[in-house]
Homo-oligomer: 204 residues x 2
């Protein structure tokens, strides 16, 4: 997230997965060993940033994401044979549940990733993800609208927000209007590139 | 500012200068030596947080603030003889220009602070503050609406944003709708209590 609260830019298209001008939000990830490995690269730094990127993959048995995180295609899927941003072998290696208003058959990719398309809303996606994940955790990938939906429904147990030192000026916000209530900060660490915050419901 | 973007809570009154539930935003200030001195206390920590609080006072020759930062009184001043939150000897020790829709005679306090009430808007306040400050800097104290006005007018040369690891859930935002454009981060440092960001216009 930028300091002014944006988690993605506007104008998402095939060349701008995060929207125009928002790539600065993810640069720190690709400086880490885990982040670089995520996109098939080598090297990268270890340390706190890397540990926290890795924590987003360790012990995850299913992922939920919104349609815009899956791709820039809008409307009926027939208009474009989109298979996600991540190539033939996506770095999830588990079932991924994509929230959408347009049904589509599951897509089995290489490496154990299968994309499922859920038209019945967040709670239905969570039920399916729970079955898929078993005892493992479920990651809510994003984007902004999907996180807001799950926050509003009280379905988020742990939230990691990484704030990068930029002002984007426009884009998509997680926190808009009223913010989430009842969350407490369970850890905060500032590194040279990012301020990392973890939040959990106060009762947890 | 909270992680969800609030710089003050709702429901400001005489007992809640920052609005209800928002005192967590300022706690770190009163852990510093300078912040504690600001309210007439002793002790407090030195270090980065303290240095940055002190930087908000050093070399400042005038302060501009919105009416809500000056007090919880609304409407005509005659309804309440409000002299600010800061007691008979406010910690400014220079001229303070309060933006308001209701004119009022200047109030000369102890210790060199005089409150002036400006009804002609932000640019008029800035002109008066420039005359008062001479070669020194002008501090824009807040609150949220006042900072937004000055940002929209492009009148802010340097901006220090201190993000504390809390989610407030409601309150007043600096960054709402579109954020400011054309600002770049000139420094960022994370301390155990706060992430400090400095921004300046890209051309500066």
């Amino acid at each position: 997230m930028s300091v002014d609260g944006f988690v993605a830019g506007l104008g998402q298209d095939e060349e701008h997965p995060l929207g125009v001008g928002a790539s600065a939000l993810h640069e720190w990830i690709f400086e880490t060993r885990t982040g670089r490995g995520f996109i098939g690269g080598e090297g990268g730094e270890t340390g706190v940033d890397d540990d926290l990127v890795a924590a987003g993959f360790d012990g995850i048995g299913a992922t939920i994401m919104g349609r815009n995180m899956f791709g820039p295609v809008r409307g009926d899927w027939a208009t474009m044979p989109w298979l996600g941003w991540w190539g033939p072998n996506p770095p999830f290696h588990h079932r991924v549940f994509v929230l959408t208003n347009f049904g589509r058959d599951p897509i089995e990719m290489e490496g154990g990733t299968t994309f499922h398309f859920v038209t019945e809303g967040p709670e239905a996606a969570l039920t399916l993800a729970r079955e898929a994940a078993g005892d493992l955790d479920i990651r809510l990938g994003g984007g902004a609208a999907t996180v807001r939906q799950f926050l509003d429904l009280g379905l988020i147990d742990r939230m990691h927000i990484a704030v990068v030192p930029v002002l984007l000026g426009s884009g998509e916000r997680i926190f808009d209007g009223a913010g989430p209530s009842g969350y407490t900060c369970t850890s905060y660490v500032g590194t040279p590139r990012v301020a990392h915050y973890h939040f959990a419901p106060q009762s947890a």
